[in-house]
């Protein structure tokens, strides 16, 4: 898949995320838009997973620790054929498996998440199992930056380095916002790179919306004996001008008029992408 095709996918994913959230009347808009490019690269270029590998013990694992951004994950999984996209219309409805946080009822989802600070310890366990079995799979998790205030992350960070889990990658969706406002104002976790470095991790920085750069950093071999933290600098609400960097869009649901406006902007982005390609 070319970078151009991948960029078009990202725009389409954003459109589907917004439509899903607007239809459901609930969802985490800002964070889904900030991580959707990361998920795009993971599922289309990096993870060795498919609807055929659901039970394969050697498949790569992805656990979304920032479970609230599940709409982005659902949209990407639907696109990858894990379930028919039409099923997503039941998002947040009575008896739907498409709950507002990931559950294993949905094909392709490895663990039930949503309470913060849980994904990294789980992934340490999965990566340890991989080491015990000499299995070649890789384990990925996506963390929110507000989420880093949960101490369990740092327990897991310590254990990952102790066990030299170079099959583990934690991606930080570093959009610097959380529900209350700027992470630095709520409870500052900067400099976050130095924290992971001092815990014994390899740390890489990347523009979390640059698909080529994400591809490079996610496909790169790990530093032997070290878990990897990829700090993906992102923009909360990315792709919709009036949602970008606005904390209230953390779980804001677009009105009909706002949705129309947002979709028009994304439509324009498709045009610009086509032009850039030509």
């Amino acid at each position: 898949m070319t970078d151009h095709e991948l960029r078009l996918k990202s725009i389409r994913y954003r459109r589907d995320v917004l439509r899903s959230i607007a239809r459901a009347g609930a969802g985490h808009t800002g964070g889904s838009l900030s991580c959707v490019d990361i998920l795009n690269v993971l599922y289309n270029r990096v993870l060795r997973v498919s609807p055929q590998t659901l039970e394969d013990p050697l498949r790569d694992r992805y656990v979304q620790s920032k479970g609230h951004s599940v709409e982005a994950l659902y949209v990407v999984l639907a696109d990858r054929g894990f379930f028919p996209a039409a099923q997503l219309e039941t998002l947040c409805q009575y008896r739907s498996p498409f709950v507002g946080h990931p559950t294993r009822k949905v094909p392709g989802i490895e663990m039930n998440t949503g309470a913060l600070g849980h994904g990294l310890p789980i992934c340490v366990g999965m990566a340890l199992a991989g080491k015990l079995d000499d299995a070649p799979y890789r384990v990925f998790t996506l963390l929110g930056d507000g989420e880093l205030a949960e101490g369990s992350n740092w327990e897991a960070a310590m254990a990952a380095a102790h066990y030299k889990l170079d099959n583990l990658t934690a991606i930080l969706d570093h959009n610097t916002l959380q529900i209350t406002g700027h992470t630095r104002d709520v409870c500052c976790n900067e400099p976050v790179d130095e924290k992971f470095l001092s815990f014994g991790w390899a740390v890489r920085m990347v523009d979390g919306h640059d698909l080529a750069a994400l591809t490079e950093v996610l496909q790169a071999p790990a530093e032997p004996g070290k878990p990897t933290c990829i700090i993906a600098n992102t923009i909360k609400g990315r792709g919709v001008s009036f949602m970008e960097n606005v904390a209230k869009w953390h779980h804001g649901v677009p009105s009909d008029a706002e949705l129309e406006l947002a979709l028009a902007e994304l439509e324009q982005a498709v045009g610009e992408q086509a032009e850039a390609q030509a």
């Binding site: 294993r104 849980h118 999965m126 897991a156």
Partner: protein, 338 residues
């Protein structure tokens, strides 16, 4: 540091046990550790996960024999459970071993979400449960774990009474398809079962039959109930003793049968009287439309008295003497009421 552990049994209780032909075994904790090692030798997917608790968990020999199957995470119970869930999700049969007080309080959200909600084949092992740590104080007591876990969907809760039940419970947990919580203490336990004993999850064991009164007990209070029943038999009272090793799912039929056939029911647990075995039995009995004289014996809702485990058992009437007195009292009141 470890507090000195005076015997859980008075001289009279020991004499009663002798008359019953019971022999003192080892702590259930040791029976657990030996059984787990035995299982793990034949199944390399079994892993023990500890939070600086391999010594307390009697797992030092396990770590020496099977170093690759013992995973140490340091003093970090949330991480202990999260990692155990991840190991299980990736195909391991993980046993997270930590003092019950920390495991089921600090890591309760990990048990609820990562283990139960995600439905992985992980076993939570709460060692030195209840007031096993005695004089170390309430930070080290777990009087809430049965209540908390009863309210969480998708976990079997086992509190074995003696070494036999412990071995069977560990084997059953190793084969379980869904989450299991194992709870036991560290005091040496009398063997309560004969050679033809059977252990089945969800099925109470009738250790003594009788219809004057039923003791429905769980974990390490069962032996005291057996001794109390023996004591009462000397006065012509025939008491039933049920070892309710499975607190969830509870053996509903055994509880109803006891409530129907016996003149009174006493439940016994090393746990708060709130939300544990006693209230579970009370709900079943009321739902069945029965109302026998009924008493819950456990730790009341107060600042727990200080002292050793033996002191605490004696203080709250959980020993042979206390239970026999409670039985006499409830039966006398029942007669007065008639």
């Amino acid at each position: 540091m470890s507090a000195p552990a005076p015997s859980m049994f008075s001289p009279d209780a020991r004499a009663t046990a002798e008359r019953l032909g019971l022999s003192l075994g080892k702590p259930n904790l040791e029976a657990f550790a030996e059984t787990l090692l035995e299982l793990a030798r034949h199944d390399r997917n079994i892993v023990a996960v500890t939070s600086d608790s391999r010594g307390s968990g009697k797992l030092v020999p396990f770590g020496q024999a099977l170093p690759r199957q013992l995973i140490e995470v340091g003093i970090a119970e949330q991480n202990l459970v999260g990692i155990s869930a991840g190991l299980a999700a990736a195909g391991k049969k993980s046993f997270a071993v930590s003092p019950a007080c920390f495991l089921t309080a600090r890591a309760l959200e990990q048990i609820k979400n990562d283990v139960c909600y995600s439905d992985v084949r992980a076993v939570m092992v709460g060692i030195s449960a209840g007031v096993s740590y005695g004089a170390l104080g309430s930070t080290h007591h777990s009087l809430h774990d049965l209540a908390a876990l009863r309210a969480i969907h998708n976990i079997t809760v086992l509190a074995p009474a003696d070494n036999f039940e412990t071995r069977e419970a560990v084997r059953a947990a190793a084969h379980a398809e869904h989450p299991v919580y194992l709870r036991f203490g560290k005091a040496p336990m009398y063997g309560l079962h004969g050679p033809d004993a059977e252990f089945k999850i969800g099925r109470a064991v009738t250790l003594r039959d009788g219809d004057d009164l039923a003791f429905i007990a769980t974990g390490e209070t069962v032996v005291h109930s057996v001794l109390a029943a023996a004591k009462l038999a000397e006065d012509g009272m025939n008491c039933r003793v049920l070892s309710m090793h499975t607190v969830k799912p509870l053996d509903v039929q055994a509880v109803i049968k006891a409530a129907k056939e016996c003149r009174a029911v006493i439940t016994v647990e090393e746990h708060s009287v709130h939300g544990g075995l006693g209230e579970a039995c009370a709900a079943i009995i009321l739902h069945a439309g029965l109302s026998p004289p009924f008493r819950i014996i456990g730790i009341p809702d107060e600042e727990t008295v200080t002292g050793s485990q033996a002191d605490i058992f004696r203080h709250y009437g959980m020993t042979m003497e206390g239970l026999a007195a409670a039985a006499r009292d409830i039966l006398r009141r029942a007669e007065v009421a008639v």
